[in-house]
């Protein structure tokens, strides 16, 4: 049982929670995630560890409400307990001194991008961050990212904040104007695909963090398999980060639709009761 220590609404349908998990807080590194299950009959869902405080033994998660489990989690309060939390899972981000690193977060992907930006900065990189959202009120963690990045570019699809347009437009300007050593892109699959396609002709190494459907998260079921360099990889133990130039995004996008109808059923039934 894991206690919820803190809960903050970051945007509409996006919440931040701090959970009491001393062992995980002591161990986690940027790029890793936890799997949690809210009740005995609950599904296991993966969420990135956005931050941790080893001194008080807490980890931070940020989640968007998209289906039944995240809806239920959003209804839980400070002091409530989560049945199971396991982690840290996945391989940590490879953090080195690369030079100039562009870190792109789109939508909820900013939650996954933030810890990487923080770790990259701590290892002496120059960090330029591009944060994309559909609209100003959906942008999350802007202040946190500003606190660790050397430069922050905000883009919104509707122009309600920052630059109007997609993150790739801003990325193109950066690639054309200066030397970039590494790009990290996390967000919706089409965005990660577009970024990877854009950096390919520039030969700039590009890391993406994949979010396939997971069950156990320990390498036992193969639900999270993704195609990288034409070979099957398990995102939970071999990833979740991979070289974007090697990833088969079409395969990933297709596999993410596997349970769409059943997920709708579960959410409709949940909403019907609440």
């Amino acid at each position: 049982m894991t206690e919820i220590i803190d809960k903050i609404a970051l945007a509409s349908d996006v919440f931040l929670m701090r959970l009491k998990e001393p062992l995980i807080a002591a161990k986690r590194r940027a790029g890793q995630f936890v799997i949690l299950r809210l009740s005995e009959k609950g599904e296991r869902i993966p969420l990135t560890i956005v931050d941790s405080d080893p001194n008080i033994g807490t980890i931070t998660i940020v989640f968007q409400v998209v289906g039944k489990t995240t809806s239920l989690l959003s209804s839980m309060k400070v002091g409530d307990h989560i049945t199971d939390v396991v982690g840290p899972l996945g391989r940590p981000t490879e953090i080195e001194e690369f030079g100039s690193v562009v870190i792109i977060g789109g939508g909820i992907g900013i939650a996954v991008a933030y810890p990487i930006a923080k770790a990259m900065k701590q290892s002496g990189n120059t960090v330029i961050s591009i944060l994309g959202a559909r609209s100003a009120n959906l942008l999350i963690l802007e202040q946190e990212v500003r606190a660790v990045a050397d430069e922050v570019i905000v883009t919104t699809d509707d122009g309600s904040l920052g630059v109007k347009g997609f993150v790739t437009d801003s990325l193109k300007r950066l690639l054309d104007s200066r030397k970039i050593d590494l790009v990290v892109a996390i967000g919706p699959v089409p965005m990660m695909k577009a970024v990877s396609e854009m950096t390919r002709p520039y030969s700039v190494k590009t890391i993406v963090s994949l979010n396939p459907i997971m069950v156990d998260g320990t390498g036992m079921c193969g639900a999270c398999r993704v195609m990288v360099e034409g070979r099957i990889k398990f995102a939970c133990v071999d990833g979740p980060e991979f070289n974007g130039h090697d990833v088969d995004f079409k395969d990933l996008a297709m596999r993410l639709t596997a349970y769409r109808e059943l997920e709708k059923t579960a959410l409709a039934m949940y909403r019907g009761r609440h």
């Binding site: 062992l23 009959k41 296991r44 036992m220 079921c221 193969g222 398999r225 349970y259 059943l262």
Partner: protein
Amino acid sequence: MGNDLRKKRPAVPRTPMLERRPEERVKDFGEVPLGYSPEEVKLEAVRCLGCKNKPCKSGCPVGIDCAGFVKRVSEGDFTGAIKLVKEKNILPAVTGRVCPQTEQCEGSCILGKKGDPLGIGFIERFVADWEREHGEVLPDKAPATSRSVGVVGSGPSGLTVAADMILLGHEVTIYEALHEAGGVLIYGIPEFRLPKDIVAAQINSLRRLGVVIKVNQVIGSTLTIDELLTIHDVVFIGVGAGAPAFMGISGENLIGVFSANEYLTRSNLMRAYRFPEWDTPMNPGKRVAVIGGGNVAMDAARTALRLGAEEVSIIYRRSREEMPARAEEIRHAGEEGIVMRLLKAPRQILADSSGHVAGIELLDMVLADADASGRRRPIPKEGTEHILEADTVIVAIGGHPNPTIARTTPGLDVDSRGYLVVDRQTMATSKARVYAGGDIAGWGANVIKAMGDGRIAAGAMQELLTR
């Protein structure tokens, strides 16, 4: 009456165990064989010849004195019988149900030369169930020693080490990655073959003896083996070899293709068959093709049937004789209407326009003469490609070790395929104070062998702790 039976011995067939009718049992997850009554078990037990050289005992990987416990059963001494079995095997209710008896104890039974071998598994199951229903015979625990044992993984090998070490008076903590203890017995083998209550009862009795079970702990990550060695005097690794293999053919990532582990985990561990009451979703499929010929393939196929599939096939590239599954499972699957498509291998999986499985292309095989390993190798017959319509494909072709522990444990040697290297006499790994057994130690993947490893390791650990 016993004497009459004995004269006609070889002609007396095995006492059948009542089973639920196929039409009825495929509608739910209830167990298939219903168990013996006390009268039936005695009737079966008296068939034993009490052979002097005990071939049955040599056939059992842990050397259970079959003739001995069967004799007690025939005398009505069920308590004596279960005590004798449990000297070697802490999970008889499990092994009685899932051991490949026809290759082990029963495969060596003299009665099998002329007729049916003795139903050792059935009798073992009876005494274990009898004990569970009549109050467990809890063994005596040695005085506390203040020595501490860490066990990684809660499958049969880990449970055996935990049981042996707690009885020797040590403190024992089991670390399990999933949210429920039991290993394959919980997430793999389905309820209709091994009721979850039985595994839960065993785990509860370990808890009552004082074993601490910590779930949600991925060793190699949450804590490393080196950290466990600072908490415990010795550590046993029994993490299984659960990473599923895929075939590497085109179409394997289509929606509707599962590893058997995913299919069975969704159904067993996550109770997807009770969606949406339980949250985990599953599209079990209507026309299901299962690839493989082992227990895992049979379990996946029979699970699919119970989840509502209309047509389930098993695709196996050798013939029925080579199928590694237990004989009883192959028979049950056949009775339930599962179609065995033998001597066929998949070439590719075909998609519909939305990325769902639409069918599977198969190729006929012929068997070549036995090779050095004694197995007949299947070779494809060119030009025999044909398509089987399907909406779901389940890949059940085995697994390999998960790299998490090896990656994070300096000094722990693995072989070229990732299995931990152990000394078979002691189950010691290359790392001091660390032992391993079961599937991760790479020797014949089955429940009783995993428990046998656990027993050997516990003996060697005890020697180390009392040296």
